[in-house]
């Protein structure tokens, strides 16, 4: 900015000082550089780790693109929790910093770097797609930034893996949602133990779908079960009739599927219009197959489907009833599983902050405090597995039924305290 100051000075002294183009470029780029330096933007950031100071939470969520509604759900959960806690966690006033990854991995990685370098957030949360969680893992780990994953369920994020490929656990990474093992292996184990041993697989052909199908198969095999074949439509496939036709032309009646959102709706509708229920086929799946976003569109077409998940809006416990009521007071809709994941992430952060008196400056102490967190969540008992930082949680076996005109997931059984094997 020197050039401009000199110019003013020159004007005051009564003679004109003409700025040449070169001087202008030098001066303005120096000014731009100064503005880019992190210190210049957030001069107080270096001291923000102390108790009583503002707590910045960087939330990386999709607000545009295919997963926009998941991002909206998780933002609602964050705002609800902060409203209930008077915008404070422990003794720290909270400033959420939202960034939109638009379901593009590169955009999300850049936003994470901005959280680290420019915003200097104290804690990072969010992340919907697993590839993005894997993509930011090393940056978060290197920066020793506490990151609470509130959705992405890829197993490797909280596991020991060879050469950390595609990802691996970090002391600074916690997960408040689930690993794909947790929503797939237990139901395979459960069904085969009950005597249903043969399954045909149908899953969206991408990392998470194949992982879920593989974990389910491992669960089946534990009790001598087996799979007889599979169909794997690409993720976001528009027409499901070809795949359901393949299912109808093979003899195994029990079908385990992994689909969510639009894919789940397309699958269930084709399943019915091609007459699979009448032909004796039975639908099983990971819980996202029959979550509210899907049920409100397909309604009783999903009746009889058996799925597993760590939560259901109908779950009968005091915390869940209060959570659902509080949420509905704030928003004119039912909470979904993504809301619960984010809400529990906020709760875990809150509890850990209280344990350290709001002081996040000692990272190891703060990590220890998070590891020790345990509370009653809407999903049941919530605690982090100290070795993996993945939650230890109950998995519910649910059956879709239409009761009083409402299509819901009824809880038919519970598999207690499921934890990820960690490797």
């Amino acid at each position: 900015m020197g050039g401009f100051a000199k110019n003013e000075l020159a004007a005051k002294r009564g003679y004109t000082y003409r700025l040449t183009r070169r001087q202008f470029l030098v001066a303005s780029s120096a000014a731009a550089l100064a503005a880019c330096a992190p210190g210049a933007v957030t001069p107080t950031a270096s001291s923000s780790a102390a108790p009583g100071k503002e707590l910045k939470i960087g939330l990386l969520l999709p607000f545009t693109g295919v997963y926009a509604e998941l991002g909206n759900s998780m933002r609602r959960a964050t705002e609800l929790y902060l409203k209930q806690s008077d915008q404070k966690l422990a003794n720290r006033h909270v400033t959420p910093v939202y960034a939109d990854d638009a379901n593009v991995t590169a955009t999300g990685i850049a936003a994470t770097q901005k959280f680290i370098d420019q915003d200097q957030v104290d804690v990072m949360m969010g992340v919907v797609p697993t590839p993005l969680a894997y993509g930011i893992r090393n940056a978060v780990h290197a920066a020793k930034l506490i990151f609470i994953d509130t959705n992405a369920g890829g197993n490797a994020l909280t596991r020991d893996t060879t050469n950390c490929t595609p990802s691996c656990k970090s002391p600074y990474i916690f997960r408040a949602s689930f690993s794909s093992y947790q929503i797939s292996y237990p139901i395979g184990d459960y069904l085969s133990a009950k005597g249903t041993k043969e399954f045909f697989l149908a899953y969206a052909n991408y990392g998470f779908g194949t992982e879920s199908a593989a974990d389910f198969t491992t669960g089946l095999k534990k009790n001598g079960g087996s799979t007889t074949g599979n169909v794997a439509p690409p993720l976001g496939n528009p027409d499901f009739a070809p795949f359901v036709t393949q299912i109808k032309n093979q003899p195994t009646k029990n079908v385990y599927s992994f689909f969510s959102g639009a894919d789940a709706i397309g699958f269930i509708k084709s399943w019915n219009s091609l007459g699979l229920p009448a032909a004796g086929y039975k639908m099983y799946g990971a819980g996202f197959l029959t979550e509210q976003d899907v049920l409100k569109e397909v309604k009783d077409l999903a009746n009889g489907a058996i799925t597993s998940l760590f939560w259901a809006v109908e779950l009968d416990n005091a915390e869940n009833k209060k959570f659902v009521a509080d949420f509905q007071k704030q928003y004119p809709l039912l909470p979904d599983v993504f809301t619960v994941q984010q809400y529990d992430g906020m709760r875990a952060l809150d509890e850990a902050l209280k344990a350290v008196g709001g002081d996040t400056s000692d990272k190891d102490k703060f990590v220890k405090a998070l590891e020790d967190v345990s509370f009653k969540s809407p999903r049941g008992d919530f605690a982090f597995d100290k070795t993996t930082h993945n939650p230890i949680q109950d998995i519910y076996i649910r059956e879709v039924k239409t009761q009083n005109g409402q299509t819901v997931n009824t809880i038919s059984d519970k598999i207690a305290k499921v934890t990820d094997p960690g490797k």
Binding site: G65, P242, E297
Partner: protein, 291 residues
């Protein structure tokens, strides 16, 4: 594959192809007439689906939506052509860029107005059941879609070949300047062509909704992606090209995805590459003289 399975998958492929034809016909028409690759076509399709959703919620009738959505989109096209596209006439690349801009605006406004949740539409009463066919039951709606595709193609062929407006369109495709010199109001002709293209996208939005669903992102996949594939393979800008393209891509996509599921997404693009390599104008495309 057993005979029953091949038969059922062929039906799936043909009904998918019929949907693709309804989707791509508007894009093909606008390109043939105006030499504009309308990259907002997918966004028009998406908007048509959301308009249909609202109309069904208001009136409870799929059939009303099937009229209202194309009309709404045609009106939008009637605004966009004179206000925006016409100013860039003759500057093809600028027009293409403009249509990208239009699609971004439409997609964001749609998200704001209707939200970003996944939605769906049911087939209308009477068409929501299934009928017995070889190898089991088959959804009536998909048979209806096939019939509609055939009717639409036939109607377009008749208009194109047998009516005055069709004659004007054919003349416009050959040489719009000369047509103008002969005293035809080409502005009006172009505006109504663009509106028809947008209306066809709106129709596709309604008809495809019970099968493909309604969700953010539908403007590019399946919307723009499949319609571009169909017109590129079939031949840019000709009705017969759009028919040939959808008849090839529909079944190819269906059989490709179940037979080679690990390379499912590559199958149709392999076809695109092959066709472009052997016949750069597409299967039934005309050789265009650079203007």
């Amino acid at each position: 594959m057993s005979f029953e399975l091949v038969f059922q998958q062929a039906l799936n492929g043909l009904s998918f192809g019929a949907l693709l034809f309804i989707l791509a016909s508007g894009l093909s028409l606008v390109f043939g007439m105006m030499d504009v690759v309308n990259l907002a076509h997918g966004a028009f399709y998406m908007l048509g689906a959301y308009v249909a959703l609202s109309v069904v919620q208001l009136t409870g009738s799929f059939w009303v939506a099937m009229l209202a959505a194309p009309v709404a989109l045609a009106l939008l096209g009637l605004l966009i052509e004179p206000l925006l596209l016409r100013r860039l006439r003759g500057r093809h690349l600028d027009q293409v860029l403009l249509t990208i801009g239009v699609s971004l605006v439409i997609v964001d406004v749609t998200g704001q107005l209707w939200g970003r949740e996944v939605r769906s539409l049911s087939a209308p009463p009477g068409l929501d059941g299934s009928v017995a066919l070889i190898g089991g039951v088959y959804p009536v709606y998909r048979l209806f879609v096939m019939a509609l595709g055939v009717v639409l193609a036939a109607a377009m062929a008749v208009v194109y070949r047998r009516t005055r407006i069709g004659m004007l369109i054919r003349a416009g495709v050959e040489d719009a300047q000369m047509l103008g010199a002969l005293g035809v109001d080409t502005n009006r002709l172009f505006a109504s062509t663009f509106a028809t293209g947008a209306g066809l996208a709106g129709l596709a939005g309604v008809i495809a909704a019970p099968v493909f669903g309604i969700q953010p992102g539908m403007d590019t996949d399946p919307g723009l992606l499949y319609s571009l594939v169909v017109v590129v393979v079939g031949g840019l800008g000709t009705l017969s090209g759009a028919v040939a393209g959808s008849l090839l891509i529909g079944p190819a996509d269906t059989f490709g995805k179940v037979l080679f599921q690990d390379v499912a997404l590559a199958v149709i693009f392999a076809i695109v590459a092959l066709v472009l390599l052997l016949k750069p104008t597409g299967l039934l495309g005309r050789i265009r003289v650079a203007r």
